[in-house]
């Protein structure tokens, strides 16, 4: 187990280095001069020169990368061009509401998606299965920036049940979380359905049935436990995707958060801020992936010895 942990964590190093390198290169692979793009065409030569030095663009590329890396390790992501505030501070401010939204959506997706998938796979009435399959298809295909608007239209404007203007509190979280959770729940339901159907075909399920175990026990004790391992992996991997997906949902519901900060950064060509956000979200994504791998290894001994 320890060898597995060490190996898995060791593999993390090149990936994280790669992510930092890719983020670092964002500025340098930009067509044209990034400094002119950031400051606009009418900036004075002195301003351009000053920003160039501030960003360290006058140094050789490898030196710049090492500095970028060293500063990032200390939690220094540079200074926003737009607000002149430290990027790390801006991100730290906007991260909590985004995490809140993503967590709420994850809970909803797991709570709705998995039972729906199990119901579809084990239902005796074919209509249950086909309904779940049809609903998940629509859930997967509906853009969140449309479903969000429709939810506002129905629950806030027509029925008046939920606020649209508030951005604080649990009530304000309901519609955004539902919107963000819908595609994730659809994916989970599909994965669960496929996984349960697969397990129900296994020999040990047939054995359990043959020795006369009640169907309910066969499903919950024998099938579900094994079927849920890949499902939980997908669910955990989705979390990082939900953080990224929050970009659009935050914009629909005018919620403060990392996503809206990213959009502002891109629209105002604020490279240090955009780079910082990309780096933070991508690093989180990498760590979640590895965390899932490790948990998977604990749950399923076969993985460890591969």
């Amino acid at each position: 187990m320890r060898a597995f942990l060490v190996r898995r964590l060791f593999l993390l190093v090149p990936t994280v280095l790669g992510v930092t390198l890719a983020t670092f290169l964002m500025l340098h692979l930009t067509p044209g001069d990034p400094v002119t793009i950031m400051l606009g065409e009418f900036a004075s030569a002195a301003d351009v020169a000053r920003l160039r030095v501030e960003l360290g663009l006058d140094r050789p590329l490898p030196v710049q990368y090492v500095k970028f890396l060293a500063r990032a390790l200390r939690g220094d992501l540079g200074t926003s061009i737009r607000s002149r505030r430290p990027v790390a501070e801006e991100i730290a401010e906007r991260l909590p509401p985004t995490m809140q939204l993503a967590l709420a959506a994850e809970v909803l997706a797991v709570g709705v998606g998995i039972p729906a998938g199990v119901a579809a796979a084990t239902a005796r009435i074919p209509a249950v299965d086909s309904t779940v399959v049809a609903v998940t298809l629509v859930g997967l295909s509906m853009p969140t920036f449309w479903s969000g608007l429709l939810l506002i239209l129905l629950f806030s404007l027509t029925l008046g049940w939920l606020p649209i203007t508030e951005s604080q509190g649990l009530r304000a979280l309901i519609l955004p979380a539902v919107t963000l959770a819908a595609p994730a729940a659809a994916v989970l339901a599909r994965v669960t359905r496929a996984s349960v159907l697969e397990v129900l075909r296994q020999d040990y399920v047939r054995t359990a049935r043959a020795k006369g175990v009640v169907e309910r026990v066969v499903i919950y004790r024998h099938a579900l436990r094994n079927a849920l391992i890949p499902v939980l992996t997908v669910a955990a991997l989705q979390f990082a995707g939900l953080v990224a997906g929050a970009v659009i949902v935050e914009s629909v519901f005018a919620r403060p958060g990392l996503g809206r900060l990213a959009v502002t950064a891109i629209l105002s060509r604020d490279f240090p801020l955009a780079q910082g956000i990309v780096l933070v979200v991508a690093t989180m994504y990498v760590f979640v992936n590895v965390g899932v791998d490790v948990v998977y290894g604990i749950l399923d001994p076969r993985i460890r010895y591969r």
Partner: protein, 295 residues
């Protein structure tokens, strides 16, 4: 090397269509797939001949017709500037079709090129190419697309490039995997034995046999590409006003949600119908080409 083409190399072609005919017959037992195909054909016709079907100019302001609800005169209503929503949705089909074709062409071409090169040559080439792909796979696709837009600047063309490029790693990984399994087959060995060069082996023997999983991926990918590109436009990072792009239209509609539900309804409905149809066809194609799922 003209004689090489005369040497019969067994089973080097992809599965012949005749072998799939029983599966095609099964299509008639899946009415939703037929409906999806009909929808996609309608979508493509509308997109190609948008000016013929649209009752109005999509960007023309109709005097005295601001925010009219749907009626016989304006089936989908009009927007805050007095533009016909139906005409804009029809022209939006054209833009979405462009997005779909353009992004998937980039992803498919570059992804296949990278994957087939890495898989066929192996060694250092493989290691380096796939290391870059692995790093890019560490980014969620929408984040990668946003990062590329951040570099190129917001516009519809840049959003399409971004969505296409952000999908490349997934295609490269699949293409590499299937290339690896094809590379070691007897007919590749046979082709090499009769003196075929790398280029010929890659184009005539490897490519036709590794491409179908990649194509299946692309079919499902068109829907995702349209969704992400529309999402970028919704955020203001893609198509700019007054372009009748569905995501951008939804973004504009948000401010008038209270008074003009139709502005927010029809563009979203259009995206959803197209993506549902694409996903249905993608699922069907996957079942068709994936032997494990055949019953």
């Amino acid at each position: 090397m003209a004689t090489v083409s005369d040497v019969p190399v067994p089973s080097s072609r992809a599965v012949r269509p005749s072998a799939r005919r029983p599966l095609l017959r099964k299509l008639w037992r899946r009415p939703p797939v037929i409906a999806a195909m009909v929808m996609l054909v309608i979508f493509i016709i509308l997109a190609l001949a948008a000016p013929l079907f649209a009752p109005h100019d999509p960007t023309a302001l109709i005097p005295g017709a601001v925010m009219r609800p749907p009626s016989w005169q304006y089936l989908f209503g009009t927007d805050e500037l007095g533009r016909d929503v139906l005409s804009r949705v029809i022209h939006g089909a054209r833009i979405s079709l462009q997005i779909g074709v353009f992004t998937i062409s980039i992803a498919l071409a570059l992804g296949t090129l990278v994957g087939i090169t890495a898989g066929f040559y192996g060694g250092l080439v493989d290691g380096m190419l796939m290391a870059v792909m692995e790093v890019l796979l560490a980014f969620p696709q929408i984040l990668l697309a946003m990062a590329i837009v951040a570099m190129l600047g917001p516009s519809l063309t840049n959003a399409m490039i971004a969505v296409g490029l952000s999908a490349v790693p997934v295609y490269a990984r699949t293409a590499r995997g299937t290339t690896l399994s094809v590379r070691s087959m007897d007919f590749v060995e046979a082709a090499r034995a009769v003196g075929a060069g790398d280029g010929r082996i890659l184009l005539r023997h490897v490519l036709p046999n590794m491409i179908s999983p990649v194509v299946v991926l692309a079919t499902a990918g068109v829907g995702i590409a349209i969704l992400i590109a529309a999402g970028l436009s919704y955020l203001g990072l893609g198509a700019q006003p007054p372009t009748p792009e569905w995501g951008a239209m939804l973004s504009e509609s948000r401010a008038y949600l209270r008074n003009a539900w139709w502005m927010a309804t029809f563009p979203g409905l259009a995206i959803t119908v197209v993506v549902v149809s694409l996903n249905l066809c993608g699922d069907w194609l996957r079942d068709l080409l994936d032997p494990r799922l055949r019953k």
